[in-house]
């Protein structure tokens, strides 16, 4: 190892260590502060066990269905070229970045008691159906997460080198053989990770699960944590439940890790992919049907939100626009921090390698398992003795949002970085390319697509985040989701619908700008 590459390794470990420290504070320090304040854990009750059971059942269904549906949809999108494809892929990503409260209202406009479908059934003289129940929870979670699963898998398809498909065509592979030899290994590599991320997102669901679940049967662990804080004033039980949530997430993580296969694909020359196996009319119709069905499921509820909010956008009070500006600042700040942290952490994971690298990787995913309520309360307890948190509410929000978005960014960027190291690592070393120059010349261009996607996701997610800021923020610090909530609480349903549309538009715009940048030069 040359001294330059040793220095690069030390640098990677140093920055990665800094990021890891923040993640430990965020995930475990906050929980520790709550335990300390509560002076220990308190016992769980039988209702808590029911909550654990329901949480697991709904999260398993939601994650399994999201990934199972994403595979054919992503496959159809991957092998078809049509006008508006890029726009469609972008729009289909929108549900994931919606604030959950808004997403539920959009879904109910389609599937609710007086939604489109029930109106249609009634017009036909058929019985109406009830969306509320376990199936409603799963439907909402699939609506929310199918876009994420689809995008993760689409990235996988895009990462299969064009040379492979060319070779497959030379060997006379049909769709089935192509699937088995080229696509299935990629799915085996990516699907478990997508499943895990979605499983974890659904594990910490609270308001959506309760609303769509139709009542207290749909009590999740996160709601039980909320109850422990606010109804029972029992921080010890809240901490114990947060630990249970962590344990569930960790077990899910171990299982997913064992199922996933490492990538076994060689590198390519980044040529545009040409699919020789997608010719038949039947196949074309099948793919078309899949794309239309997926688009309808994801886009009609969004259309309903647009139709509801558009007439009220012009008359929105100025505070809404000010808050939108503030949210934009938070989103951009959080995005910069997230990308920096993710690149540092990913480099450190690879520099460490082996078991220690894997542990660092898990630390990066841990924020998904953390309860937002525990993080907010714990950080408050940690910071309060040092300073008044309200003095830098926006900065805290950015840092916390970055910690929350890091799991997604890491999942997206790490495989790309690993592949880059495998395909270009030795060449770069041989050329003596290290440090920032290598980052600029080799790494970043090759990571452009996942970087753009991760940046778009982070920006959009922190735009819509309501989480920790509620505990810190002051009158002047209101973000757009807070204003939306205030409007709803002041009976102003029309203004709230308009503000929701502003939020949807801003989140989507941020996502599109970054994602477009990421896909800018790619031929697919």
């Amino acid at each position: 190892m040359t001294s330059a590459s040793r220095r690069a390794r030390l640098l990677a470990l140093g920055f990665g260590g800094g990021v890891a420290t923040w993640l430990v504070v965020l995930n475990f320090g906050a929980l520790g502060a709550v335990v300390w304040r509560a002076e220990g854990f308190s016992a769980l009750r039988s209702a808590d066990l029911a909550a654990v059971r329901f949480t697991l059942v709904q999260a398993l269904w939601s994650a399994a269905l999201s990934v199972a549906l994403a595979i054919p949809i992503a496959r159809a999108l991957a092998r078809r070229q049509f006008r508006g494809r890029a726009l469609l892929i972008t729009l289909m990503g929108a549900p994931f970045i919606l604030p959950t409260l808004v997403a539920v209202l959009g879904l109910l406009a389609v599937f609710g008691r007086s939604g489109l479908i029930n109106q249609g059934l009634e017009a036909l003289g058929l019985a109406r159906f009830n969306i509320f129940g376990l199936h409603g929870v799963v439907l909402a979670h699939v609506f929310y997460n199918l876009p994420l699963a689809t995008r993760i898998l689409l990235q996988g398809w895009a990462a299969i080198p064009a040379e492979r498909f060319r070779l497959a065509a030379t060997l006379g592979f049909g769709p089935r053989e192509s699937f088995r030899q080229l696509e299935w290994p990629m799915i085996r590599e990516l699907a478990p990770g997508a499943f895990l991320v979605i499983f974890l997102i659904c594990l910490t669901s609270f308001s959506v699960a309760l609303t769509m679940g139709g009542g207290p049967r749909a009590t999740t662990v996160e709601l039980a944590i909320f109850q422990a804080f606010r109804f029972d004033y029992d921080m010890g039980r809240a901490a114990a439940l947060a630990l249970v949530q962590f344990a569930l997430c960790a077990s899910a993580g171990v299982i997913a890790w064992r199922v996933a296969l490492p990538a076994a694909m060689g590198g390519g020359m980044d040529r545009p992919v040409q699919r020789f196996d997608a010719g038949g009319t039947g196949l074309r119709l099948w793919d078309g049907a899949l794309i239309v069905a997926g688009a309808l499921f994801l886009l009609v509820p969004l259309g309903m939100l647009v139709a509801r909010g558009a007439p009220h956008m012009a008359g929105l009070p100025p505070e809404v626009w000010h808050a939108a500006g503030r949210s934009l600042t938070v989103a951009l700040g959080a995005t910069a921090i997230t990308l920096g942290m993710t690149l540092a952490l990913a480099h450190a994971v690879l520099a460490l390698g082996g078991g220690r690298g894997a542990m660092l990787e898990w630390l990066g995913l841990a924020a998904l398992a953390a309860s937002p309520l525990v993080i907010g309360t714990g950080l408050f307890l940690l910071i309060r003795p040092l300073a008044n948190p309200r003095d830098f509410a926006l900065a805290i929000t950015m840092l916390v949002n970055a910690g929350m978005a890091l799991p997604f960014a890491l999942r997206l960027i790490l495989p790309g970085l690993r592949a880059e190291l495998a395909t270009h690592g030795r060449l770069s070393d041989a050329l003596g390319l290290h440090g920032l120059a290598r980052l600029r010349i080799v790494t970043l261009p090759r990571l452009r697509r996942p970087l753009g996607f991760a940046a778009g996701l982070t920006a959009a997610l922190s735009m819509g985040d309501l989480g920790v800021i509620m505990l810190f923020a002051e009158r002047e610090g209101a973000t757009l989701p807070m204003q939306l909530y205030r409007l709803m609480n002041a009976y102003r349903q029309d203004d709230a619908a308009g503000a929701a549309l502003v939020l949807l538009g801003a989140s989507l715009a941020l996502f599109v700008v970054f994602d477009r940048w990421g896909r800018g030069r790619a031929g697919t």
Binding site: A47, A50, L101, V104, L105, L108, A109, G112, R113, S114, F132, F206, S207, L210, T211, M212, G213, G214, G215, P216, R217, L223, F226, Q227, F229, R230, F231, Y233, P317, E319, T377, F380, L381, R384, N388, R390, M470, L471, F472, A473, E474, R475, A478, M482, Q483, Y485, R486, L487, M488, N489, A490, Y491, R492, Q493, A496
Partner: protein
Amino acid sequence: MRYPLFAAVAALTLTPAHAETLVVLAPDYFGSNWGPGPAIKEGFEARCDCTLEYRTGDVLPRLMLEGARLEADVVIGLNTDTTLRARGTGLFAPHGQDLAPLTVPIDWEDDTFIPFNWGYLAWVYDRTRLDDAPTSFAELLEREEISLLWQDPRSSASGLALMLWVDEVFGDAASDVWRNLAARTVTVTAGWSESYGMFSAGEADMVLSYTTSPAYHIVAEDDDSKAAAIFDEGHYFTAEVAGVLAGAANPDLARDFMAYLLSREFQEMIAYANWSYPAALPREDWPEVMRDLPFPDTAIFLGEDEAEARRGAALEVWLEGMTR
């Protein structure tokens, strides 16, 4: 200027106007321009020659987490269901006010907290969708075709109040009541705004809200289709209260603020500002819209000790009835 920092400090310390500042800890909605916050600030500043500053956020958690570190003089916007916990922090001082002006429908003798506005919990419906609303809770139970939206008692103040309302009216039969309601409950939401939003979108016939809710639609939207069903058994009383912090930097100003809350000027403003009943104003002096709304005959209220004693068991009954 060569010493910008010095100049800035001098400018701050030498400003003559607004020598005193009253810091008010308040719920988040006081921070918005469409809540009561701005009107209260303006009204008080006009009479105190001081500056009123809000610290907004989740009030009770802030009190409990910050304790004596809390930099505030007054707390406003606590609900009647959280007064026991707030009192238990030991952070409050007597408000020092004569409570004779209070016109709330229950005996209010509390030297720590003053109610400044109040309301009755009620099932609200849309006249264009439900033309003959039930006139009693018992009738609501018989009318099993009426679909309902309401809030979870574990996460929402109004949900908790409904739980205590049912517990008080039906006692041992509460379990059957919950089973009855569960059968036609569309869903139970974490907070009030989710269920009210869903009700407005036509997801249910009735939503758990307040007798004063229709006033908003009449005044702000010129829409008189929303109404609250008035029940013979009586309605659960909820109030928002304020109190003086023992650690107030400015105790005299804090007590002036308490007096302002009971003043006629404040009480005449609060009905529109917060869509609720004034707490110290005879009903004949209320704004016409509030006065004309149907008004329950009987108030039901469990004091904070009674509510605390009952709510654990009541929640078990609720959970059992709802999930059976």
